[in-house]
């Protein structure tokens, strides 16, 4: 099954890259831009027989490698 994992920073963690993007957009004539957030999207085939197994596998992958729980949270989307 095809799984889409979106990884973003936890609320309250400052993202210097998002700040730079926001500043740049403001400079380009979008003064009302606010709260810019970046996410990483990882898509993968997990080879699981059903949705539940795919979800379990994807969760384990996030815990073990894909996300760093110190600063990141994630959402899992199954096609």
């Amino acid at each position: 099954m095809r799984v889409k994992v979106a990884i973003g920073l936890r609320p309250g963690v400052l993202d210097p890259e998002a700040v730079a993007i926001e500043r740049s957009l403001k400079g380009l004539g979008f003064p009302d831009v606010a709260n810019v957030k970046r996410q990483k999207i990882i898509e993968l085939d997990v080879g699981a027989p059903d949705r539940e197994a795919a979800l379990t596998a994807a969760r384990a992958m996030c815990e073990k490698l894909l996300a760093n729980p110190v600063i990141e949270s994630y959402t899992i989307d199954i096609a």
Partner: protein, 220 residues
């Protein structure tokens, strides 16, 4: 001293580190590839700087899941000294051997220059050769050195005297200007600046020498 330097695909400071260790101890460190899963009895395990796995996913994230890291965690748990410099520090945080995480520098620039640090504690086998509060100059060369930890974690580091080095001035956005930290057992040190590249006059500073001398004095 029996020391081992662990190399990963993309490590690039292992030669400098080996040279600094050998100069201080008179013994050539063992070189160990990250695919190994066992280490002999050691006094020191060193993780050098570089860009393991091209910094893919997150700096140090893939290297932290290498076979050797389970063995390093086991040895660290037994009290063996472990030092991670720059990418080595990132790997140690990703492996959970040190708290917090190194994020992208606040100013987004790759910083490559000598910086002034303050030795924040001398209570460790790594820093006993310095005076507390002593100013030293080590070079930095990193894009992701912005040390991040929640307020509770930072308080714990401060209360337990586990900040080893602090940037003298604002550098990369690190909380509390933290440049290096110790584990709860004080036997694991991670730091972003490069003491191994401040051991000979040609490098512009010899302020890193006492760190290796401290290790030699403590570990033989």
């Amino acid at each position: 001293m029996r020391a081992a330097i662990i190399t990963f695909p993309g490590s690039n400071r292992e030669v400098d580190l080996a040279r600094a260790l050998e100069a201080a101890t008179g013994h050539r460190p063992l070189s160990v590839w990250h695919k190994e899963s066992e280490l002999p009895d050691l006094d020191l395990i060193a993780l050098p700087g570089g860009f393991s796995y091209g910094d893919y996913l997150r700096c140090g994230a893939v290297a932290a899941r290498s076979p050797i890291m389970t063995e390093i965690a086991r040895q660290a748990g037994r009290g063996v000294a472990v030092i991670g410099i720059c990418n080595g520090f990132q790997i140690l945080t990703e492996a959970g051997l040190l708290p917090g995480v190194l994020m992208r520098n606040k100013g987004l620039a790759f910083l490559c220059k000598p910086v002034t640090l303050e030795v924040a504690t001398r209570q460790s086998v790594f820093t006993s050769g310095y005076e507390a509060g002593q100013e030293v100059v080590f070079p930095v060369a990193h894009h992701d050195g912005n040390y991040t930890i929640d307020a509770e974690g930072q308080k714990r580091l401060e209360d337990e005297d586990r900040v080893a080095f602090r940037y003298k001035g604002e550098l990369n956005g690190s909380v509390g200007r933290i440049a290096g930290i110790l584990s709860t057992g004080r036997n694991v040190l991670g730091l972003m600046p490069h003491p191994e590249d401040a051991t000979e006059p040609l490098q512009g500073s010899i302020d890193g020498k006492p760190l290796f001398a401290s290790l030699a004095a403590a570990l033989g």
